[in-house]
Structure formats: C-alpha cells, structure tokens
Amino acid sequence: MDYFDIFVSILGSTIRLSIPLIFTALAGLFSERAGIFDIGLEGKMLAAAFAAACLAYVSGNAWIGLLGGIGVSILFSLIHGFASITNRGNQIVSGVALNFIAAGLTIVLGQAWFNQGGRTPGLTGDARFAPIILPGVDVMREVPVIGPLYANVISGNNILTYLAFAAVPLSWWILYRTRFGLRLRAVGENPAAVDTAGISVAFLRYRALLVTGVLGGFAGAYLAIAQSAAFINNMSAGKGYIALAALIFAKWKPVPVMFACLLFGFLDAVANFMQGKSLPMIGEVPVQIFQALPYVLTCVLLAGFIGIARPPKAGGVPYVKER
C-alpha cells in the first residue's frame, strides 16, 4: 500500500468522522450566534440518534427515522429555550441537565423497549441510509490521482454526508444574506437594540433554537442510521463537545466551522490509522496524542495564540427587557 492509497483511505475516513461534527457545530453556531450557549449539543445528538434508530427500526424507513431524530432534537432545543429564554435560567446548567437526561433516558427506554442493554436492534436495507455510488465511478477509477479520490472520497457516501456539506453554504447564506440572519446575529450581540427596533428577542431566539434542533437531529440520525446500524449506549462519545470546540476554534463562522470539523475529523482518522504503527525517527506514537489534539488546539486558540476567539457579546446572558 503506497502513501497515496493511505492518504485516500485517511481522507475517506476523515469525511465519515467529520459529518456528525459539522452538523453539530452548525447547530451550535445558530444557537450561540443568537446568544444562547448550548452545552447540550451532545445530549441532542444522543437523543436524536436514539429516536432515529427506534423509528427507523419500527418503520423500516430511514427517512422516518431522520424525521424522528429531528423531532426529538427540536424538543430538547425547546426545553433548553424554555429554561433559558422564557425563564431566564442559566444556560450552562440547562444544557448540562439535558445531556444527563439524554444519556440516562436513552438507556432506560432502550432497555425497556428492546431488552438489549440499551441498544436498539440492528437495521438493514431501507432502514439505513445506504452509500450512494456517484455516476462514472468505474470510468474515473482508472484516472490517476483524481480517480481514486473520486471513487473513495467523493463517491460512496450516504445522502446525509452531501447534505452536511450543503448545509455549510446554506448556513452562511442564512446568517449573512437574509433578514433573519442579520437579526439573529444582532440578537446575539446586542439584544436591546433588536428589541428597540420592535423585534421580539424571545421569538427570534426560539427560532434560532429550532434551527439548532433540526441540525442536531441530522447529526444524531447520521450516527445511528447512516454510519452505524443501531443505537448503542452513549454512542455520541463526546462528539458534541468536540463540535463545540470546533465551533470556538472556527470563531463562530460557518465556513471555518466546516474546516475546523474536517481538521478534527482528520486528526481522529490519523489517530485510528497510526495505532500500532511507528513513524520513522520517532517510533510508535500513542494514539491519545491525536485524540487530545482537538482540545489542545482549542485551548491554544483560546489562550490567544491563533488570533482571538471572540464569542457573541450577549452569549449566556438572559435578556431582560427593563432593569
């Protein structure tokens, strides 16, 4: 296996590992740009994964599973909104609480319904999003360099992968080219000004959380019914936090979010690949180094070494109309 094949293999792995991060980080982007910190991304992903796996199993249709995942994720978003917008509670506390609820509830319900230690039964056929083979793969495969890249990296992914990459420019367009996006960004920076203009801060923030819910649902569905074929206890395995790190690393901007997620996915793929292999000159590198890198990089960024990460000004502060 030559170096190019290894490179192609790692790139393919990078794409697969980045998709849940991209969806989740974009979900976080919408809520945080509207001034609602969302530490509950992990819980949304997990709950959505569970709902998607259950519904896909029962209905035998992946799309119904996806809708179920989105529904549950929106529900979690709205609970977060009710606690932190309507009741002006602490956003971090509400988010952490939702994470715990998701982790516990999925296992309890899964155990009660399916009796498989919290797992859901395996999915086959239409209950999963199957890989899509793009046209012309067989012809392209023979072309040097581009051929293997097209066949192994660009083609052969499932529909959600392409939707994730479509969601990035769409998010950019919504945030920077629509009236809703302008107001959403404004409400995260200076809600009082938005309020003065006669726009409801609470309603705007709720709408931002709806978008967060939808994207979180995609992330969960990808985990359970596209990448895997069942829900498994705690299968999000910290991806929500990595996505949060990616969001900060990308300084709350949609296109950099994609690149940050791809970078973190790449590190994960390299970690998987490097296991048990030794590098020339250095020897065997513990995989934990690669697994810790996303967090290390984010810390370095926050310490001010790679530009300045400035969060939305009104983030984390409940809006009170009059003091």
């Binding site: 094949d5 697969r16 590992l17 230690g117 395996g122 895997s228 498994i232 206890n233 998987n272 048990g276």
Partner: protein, 330 residues
C-alpha cells in the same frame, strides 16, 4: 402482625432448607447488557437452559455502569441467593470483597480469577480458540492479509489477538495481521463507530477477514465488513446469524455451559471452588458452524481446523498465551 410475619418467614426459611436440591441461583451480567449477542447473552442462555430443564427460577441483574456490580453481587448474596454468578472480569475486585463477606454463599466469576474458598473462577483459553479462527481466516483470505479489532487494550484482549495471529501465520508464514484496539477505557466496548472505522482502515490496507473481540463494538466490525463485502469473525457467542454470508465463523466461549454447570453442581451438592480452565480439550472454546456459515467453511478448512484441534490437544502445537508473559512472540 409482626409475630405472624416472623413466623411466616421462619417457616419459609425452614421449608427452603428442607429441599436441598432447590437452589436460589442469581446472575450478574457485565456492562455490555443481557442481549449483547455476545458474551452476556451466552450466560443468559446458560441460565435459561437450566431453568428450562429444572424449572428453577433464577434472578438476574444488568449493571449499566462499573459501579453497580458490587452492589448487585452483594444484594443477591445478602438475600440468600447461591450460587451468585458474575460474568465479566470487571467484577473481580467486587467479587473479592463480597465473597469474603459471605463465606457460606457460593460464587462464580467468569473470565477472571478470585482466590477464595467459596469462589469458582471460570477462565477460558481464548488463545486456542482464536488460533483456530485465525487458521480459518488465513485459509479464507485471498489477499494474504487479515485483521483483528480488539475492544479495550488489556492483556486479555491481546491474548485473543496473539492466538489469532499465530493461527493465521500457521497457514502462511508471511501472512500479514493488522491489530487494532478500539480504546483504553471501558467505553471501548460500546463504540461501534470507531470499531467500524478501524475495520474500514484495515480493509483499505488489504485485509479481507477481520476478527472482532470487542463486545458490543464488535457489531460495528461485523457491520463494516458486511457493508464492504468482506468476511468477519464473531466472538464469545455464535454471531454467525448477525450477517449471514459475511460472518465467516465465531470463536465461541461456552459461557452458557459454565453458568449451567455451576447451577447444576450446586443443586447436586458438587460445587467446587478454584480455577476451572476451559480450552479446546474440554470443549470450552469452539469455532461455530451452523446453517448461516456452512457454505463458507470449505472441507479443506474444516480438515485443517480438525487437525489443528487434534494437534493442540496432543500438545504438538503450542498456542502462546499472551497473559503469561505479556508478550506475543510473533
């Protein structure tokens, strides 16, 4: 009221001691869950087998976290259950504590050793079983490359990998064996996504038979192998049915027999403590052949596996046990 209740309890206790053969068996699973299609399910099947045969009800508990094991074992012991079987090496320290507190209760631990006079420790020679499936993998491989995906990076799992590699290399000395571990914490048993990526990685490098010894993460290995039209090998209980036609075979640890025998021995008052080691010779580890994989195991493969079995029993083939020296000689 209290007096009637006490009398009632006393009569109940008397009547239970009167029937010597009537046992109150209990079973504590590992954190993988009862229906993990693997290790724990095998234990469950053993208990069900005993229940069906004798009509004796048993109680079981599924701990969902590492901290619940001790509580569950103690709970059963304090309520008078005996024997209490704990399946998973994770309950070793819990068993050491609780078994010392209840010297009259009989305990069984599977996959680990607890040296107490009232504990039977059932261990398996997974290296021998893995050697057999490694041999089959080596014969089924067209690329001359096979893979192994382990769960948590512990000596027990390295033992699987080492025996497997030895078996695969017995087919062809230059056989390439890729070995990966899902992780270093308990979460590694429940991470099918990472296990699947590791599998894909090995497939990209040319492996066409991948052996999973990773608890529930192993389902990710079997899934990825099936998605990529490669062979996989299941572990602990017969997993051939998970993806028929793709799962080449399974390395089965007869945990069901261990559970069944423990109950039966106790009922017949023949319970023995101490280490009970099960290898190929005792039928404790086997490779599974059933309707789902009959077509995949060619007569040559079967003959080679039978010969290897005979050689291991005769001692002419020595399968290295990683846990004896924490090294794999390959």
């Amino acid at each position: 009221m209290t007096k009637t209740l006490l009398t009632f309890i006393a009569t109940a206790m008397l009547s239970s001691t009167a029937l010597a053969a009537d046992i109150k068996p209990a079973l504590v699973y590992g954190t993988g869950g009862k229906f993990d299609k693997s290790f724990n399910e095998a234990a469950y099947n053993g208990a069900e087998m005993y229940k069906k045969e004798t009509g004796t009800e048993y109680r079981d508990f599924e701990p969902t976290s590492d901290t619940q094991g001790e509580q569950a074992i103690r709970n059963f012991a304090s309520k008078g259950f005996s024997p209490v079987i704990a399946v998973s090496f994770a309950w070793t320290s819990a068993m050491e504590k609780v078994a010392a507190e209840y010297p009259d209760t009989k305990f069984v631990i599977v996959d680990s050793v607890v040296e107490l006079p009232n504990v039977r420790s059932v261990v398996y020679n997974e290296a021998e079983g893995s050697y057999l499936v490694g041999l089959l993998a080596g014969m089924a491989s067209k690329t001359g490359k096979v893979g192994f995906v382990g769960g948590m990076d512990i000596p027990l799992i390295r033992k699987f990998g080492c025996g497997y590699a030895q078996g695969a290399k017995s087919v062809k000395a230059d056989m390439q064996v890729f070995q990966n571990m899902v992780g270093t914490t308990g979460a590694a048993w429940n991470d099918p996504v990472r296990a699947g990526e590791l599998t894909k990685n090995q497939i990209d490098q040319g492996a066409d038979v991948i052996y999973a010894a990773a608890g529930a993460s192993g389902l990710g290995v079997l899934q990825t192998a099936a998605d990529n039209k490669k062979f996989s090998i299941g572990v602990d209980s017969n997993q051939n049915h998970v993806h028929p036609g793709s799962v080449l075979t399974s390395m089965v640890k007869r945990v069901d027999l261990a559970v069944y025998n423990a109950y039966k021995d106790t009922a017949a008052d023949k319970f023995t403590a101490g280490i009970q080691s099960n290898g190929i010779k005792d039928g404790g580890v086997v490779y599974a052949v059933d309707d789902d994989n009959k077509a995949l195991i060619t007569p040559e493969m079967k003959a080679a596996a039978d010969k290897a079995t005979a050689d291991i029993i005769a001692g002419t083939v020595k399968v290295h046990d990683y846990m004896t020296d924490n090294k794999c000689p390959l």
